[in-house]
Amino acid sequence: MSADRREWPLYEVFVRGKRGLNHVHVGSLHAPDDAMALRHARDVYTRRNEGVSIWVVRADAITASSPDEKDPLFAPNGDKVYRHPTFYEIPENVPHM
């Protein structure tokens, strides 16, 4: 598959809707770097609402817990939020499929 050789990385977006609330995950977007990700987040997820606070973080910088600690498929250490197996191929960490 000849997808873009270098797609812009994926970012996760967190928005504080108003003062007193936590930042809450609202979605994702692609951007070439942190500064552009912030701009994109403002355009895409708040449609330019003044005064809200936005966090963006690269998806590959997030460490996530396993859904089930007893699950032998996942390493006991944390893992990335998204796995990116090539589609229609079986992830390497799942044998016998």
């Binding site: 812009w8 809450v24 692609h30 701009r39 994109h40 895409v44 708040t46 330019r48």
Partner: protein, 309 residues
């Protein structure tokens, strides 16, 4: 659509997307853009001149918006598609206020429509004027090129417009002061967006730099019109309701020089685009492409002069 599985997202939806839709571009003030605003023409300002001045600023915004909206569904990525639409929507909002302000200041400026036509004044001005009655600068109307062209055009436009709106906040005309107050925040963002992309394209790849320099060379001759005063602008500025664009020249130069320096791009050595017998966009003398732009923009409205939309 309440969810049987409560999620932290529900609260956000209810809080942010529920009754209050003010953060959405379509959220506010559609019916009468000047509802509740004092439209008395300030003492010492000629109403017809104030109207012409509002048309200059309003037409700049309207025609820029028309060109920017052509990018819709054609941008390099979805995120930029959305960003360009936001900018176009901001400028369209400014245009509506300014055209409505022109009509309120001088009803004689509004084209006469058939008896009983329900078309509001802002639309009569946008859709029923001939090209020669439009007062926008030619920078706003030249046809779109590639993405670099869009970035350069918006940079030149927003650097000058931001400098203008910042001063216009002190206008003796309450409507213009209010329009400027709102517009400063919007155009500051446009300038920031364009400046950031200018730097990115300048320092990205050889290809992007080549395209950027080409666009800059092509559009630079159109910059001068934004900082050259038409007699109406001088007069309205003298009355305290407007801003003399010639007074912006220093700031516009300084800001652009800064962007060019950071980006490592030379200032083009190109003379201003000639007018016709000294007449340019502010006088109603436009480019060949402008007639085509209006043909598209006005076609449906003109086919139904008594239409309701």
């Amino acid at each position: 659509m309440s969810d049987d599985h409560g999620s932290v997202f529900d609260g956000l939806i209810d809080g942010d997307l529920g009754g209050d839709s003010s953060q959405w571009a379509f959220g506010t003030g559609f019916e009468d853009p000047l509802a509740g605003v004092d439209t008395t023409v300030p003492a010492g300002t000629d109403p017809a001149e104030l109207a012409a001045y509002c048309l200059m600023l309003g037409d700049d915004a309207l025609i820029m918006s028309q060109r920017l909206a052509e990018w819709c569904s054609r941008a390099p990525d979805l995120e930029e598609d959305i960003a360009l639409a936001n900018i176009a929507l901001d400028l369209l909002g400014q245009a509506r206020l300014l055209l409505a302000r022109a009509a309120a200041a001088d009803p004689g400026a509004v084209p006469v429509l058939p008896e009983g036509s329900p078309v509001p004044a802002e639309d009569a001005l946008a859709f029923f004027r001939e090209a020669g009655a439009f007062r926008n600068v030619r920078l706003a109307e030249v046809p779109n090129g590639d993405f670099a062209h869009a970035v350069v055009r918006l940079l030149l436009f927003s650097v000058a417009r931001l400098a203008l709106l910042e001063r216009l906040r002190g206008s003796a005309d309450a409507v213009l002061a209010a329009v400027a107050g709102k517009g400063v925040k919007e155009v500051a963002y446009h300038r920031d967006w364009a400046g950031r992309w200018f730097l990115t394209l300048a320092q990205g790849t050889e290809e992007s730099r080549r395209r950027l320099v080409t666009a800059l060379d092509a559009l630079w001759p159109l910059l001068d019109e934004l900082v050259t005063a038409h007699p109406v602008e001088v007069s309205v500025a003298r009355a305290g309701a407007g801003v003399d664009p010639a007074s912006l020249r220093g700031e516009v130069d300084a800001v652009l020089d800064q962007v060019l320096a950071v980006s490592g791009v030379d200032r083009p050595d190109r003379p201003p685009l000639a007018g016709v017998a000294g007449r340019t966009g502010r006088h109603g003398t436009h480019t060949e492409a402008f007639g085509l732009l209006l043909a598209e923009m006005q076609v449906v409205a003109r086919a139904h002069p008594n239409g309701r939309w």
